[in-house]
């Protein structure tokens, strides 16, 4: 199962532990996390389900391409990092 890791900056607002979840795309993996932590969703995604403008997501260190529909594929050994983007804030 891929692992989702969140920036420690989120801990100021709510728990966001690293989690191994099912999912073959970035969006599917995040959706699994948010299903058990619904409050976290709005910190990472906007109202339409796209990545927030100032949130960056990497898969094994590479920025995801599809920030709107989150279709970038992930494999069972991949690590998905959810970070603050350096822009803005």
């Amino acid at each position: 199962m891929p692992t989702v890791l969140f920036t420690r900056a989120l801990e100021r607002f709510l728990p966001a532990p690293s989690t191994a979840v099912e999912g073959s795309t970035v969006g599917a993996a995040l959706a699994t996390v948010f299903a058990s932590r619904p409050a976290l969703r709005g910190y990472v995604l906007d109202d339409q389900g796209a990545l927030r403008r100032h949130v960056a997501v990497y898969v094994n260190g590479r920025l995801v391409i599809d920030r709107t529909r989150l279709t970038d594929p992930v494999g069972p050994h991949d690590e998905i990092y959810v970070f603050q983007a350096l822009s803005g804030g």
Binding site: A9, F13, A39, G42, V44, D47, Q48, V55, A85
Partner: protein, 362 residues
């Protein structure tokens, strides 16, 4: 008179209390985070909206007795495919103001990009006012601060009839609903927009209504600080006449209306948009007590040398007595008056830039 004041700043929410004639900071919440709006409801509940740079707009609530808890903020519905050409995003940008709705549990949250949301359960759940959002005219609303998202800056609920609502929009004029938000009309006549081409100067929807304030005892009386002038309405926002006596300038953001005297209001004028600083580097408050025919310029206790404080839309407030006022600035200046604005004192604090000030109800 209100003995507590909430101050929403770029770096947290500050609560001040008045004890032995002195105002002091007694509580700090959300330290380090931008607070975009605050409401102290009549029942003692406090609501605070955060505008987190990375993680979006958030909403918190503190019960009269209890700790702060996060609530699910207002959210826009899924954008349908046929709305692809909507110039404004279907996602919450910022909660700009939260107002009580006039009945138990009801609140209005006014936002960028121009969505108005209602809660009937003390902020625990929110629904978008679909009538306003789906109006074709809403796509003509234009943005504030250089063409970004439009924002609803004011929500006036008639204290006699909570279904009678006015909103002021930057930039789209004044909109009215007589049926609790089922239908809306753009009602303002008599304003003009210097920033528009001549043929569009008087269009109601082109008016940048920075802020509206209503006399609680005489709700037909509404005051407006507009982008290029100060206006007053005696028919709840339908027709407006300009108050050309305003001094020292006609530009500004904030206005406060006396809760009982329909002829008294306060403004904080500034040099207009090219610079946005106080006139001659002196912070002053303009007060009228004769319905806008004349204005006094109040400066006792306010900085008069090299002061460059700007006061945003929601950063001037008057309490229910009409005697106690407060305003806060982009430089973190905070001044409180106990005598209707005649004189001002500054609490012992150097605060972050201030977005909003709000007195507790009691």
């Amino acid at each position: 008179m209100a003995n507590r004041l909430h101050v929403a700043t770029r770096k947290g929410l500050f609560e001040l209390a008045r004890e032995y004639d002195i105002w002091e900071v007694t509580d700090v919440q959300f330290l380090g985070d931008p607070v975009s709006a605050v409401l102290a409801d009549a029942d003692g509940t406090v609501y605070a909206a955060l505008d987190l740079g990375h993680f979006g707009a958030k909403l918190w609530r503190r019960d009269p007795v209890g700790a702060w808890q996060e609530l699910a903020p207002p959210a826009f519905p899924s954008k349908p495919p046929d709305a692809g050409d909507d110039p404004h995003p279907w996602s919450l940008g910022k909660i700009w103001v939260i107002e009580p709705g006039g009945s138990a549990g009801r609140l209005w949250a006014a936002t960028m990009p121009g969505g108005l949301f209602r809660s009937d359960d003390g902020g625990r759940s929110w629904s978008l006012n679909e009538a306003l959002w789906h109006m074709p005219e809403r796509r003509q609303w234009s943005g504030v601060a250089g063409g970004e998202q439009p924002g609803i800056a004011s929500v006036l609920v008639d204290p006699r009839n909570p279904s009678d609502i006015r909103i002021g929009v930057s930039t789209a004029g004044v909109w009215a609903s007589a049926d609790g938000g089922v239908s809306w009309r753009n009602i303002n006549r008599g304003m003009y927009a210097e920033y528009m081409p001549p043929e569009r100067r008087e269009e109601p929807i082109a008016q940048d209504v920075h802020r509206l304030a209503r006399c609680a005892a005489y709700p037909e009386i509404v005051w407006c600080q507009h982008h290029n002038g100060v206006f007053r309405s005696e028919d709840a926002g339908a027709t407006w006449h300009e108050l050309t006596a305003i001094r020292p300038s006609k530009f500004g953001f904030a206005v406060a209306a006396h809760p009982r005297d329909p002829d008294t209001a306060w403004f904080v004028p500034a040099v207009k948009d090219e610079r946005r600083i106080p006139v001659d580097g002196k912070v002053v408050v303009a007060r009228t007590r004769d319905g806008g025919r004349s204005f006094e310029v109040l400066r006792k206790g306010l900085p008069q040398h090299h002061a460059y404080d700007l006061v945003w839309r929601h950063a001037l407030a008057v309490d229910a007595s009409g005697e106690r006022l407060a305003f806060g600035s982009t430089s973190g200046g905070l001044w409180i008056s106990e005598d209707g604005g005649d004189s001002w004192t500054m609490p012992e604090a150097r605060l972050p830039p201030i977005a909003a000030v709000r007195f507790a109800a009691s």
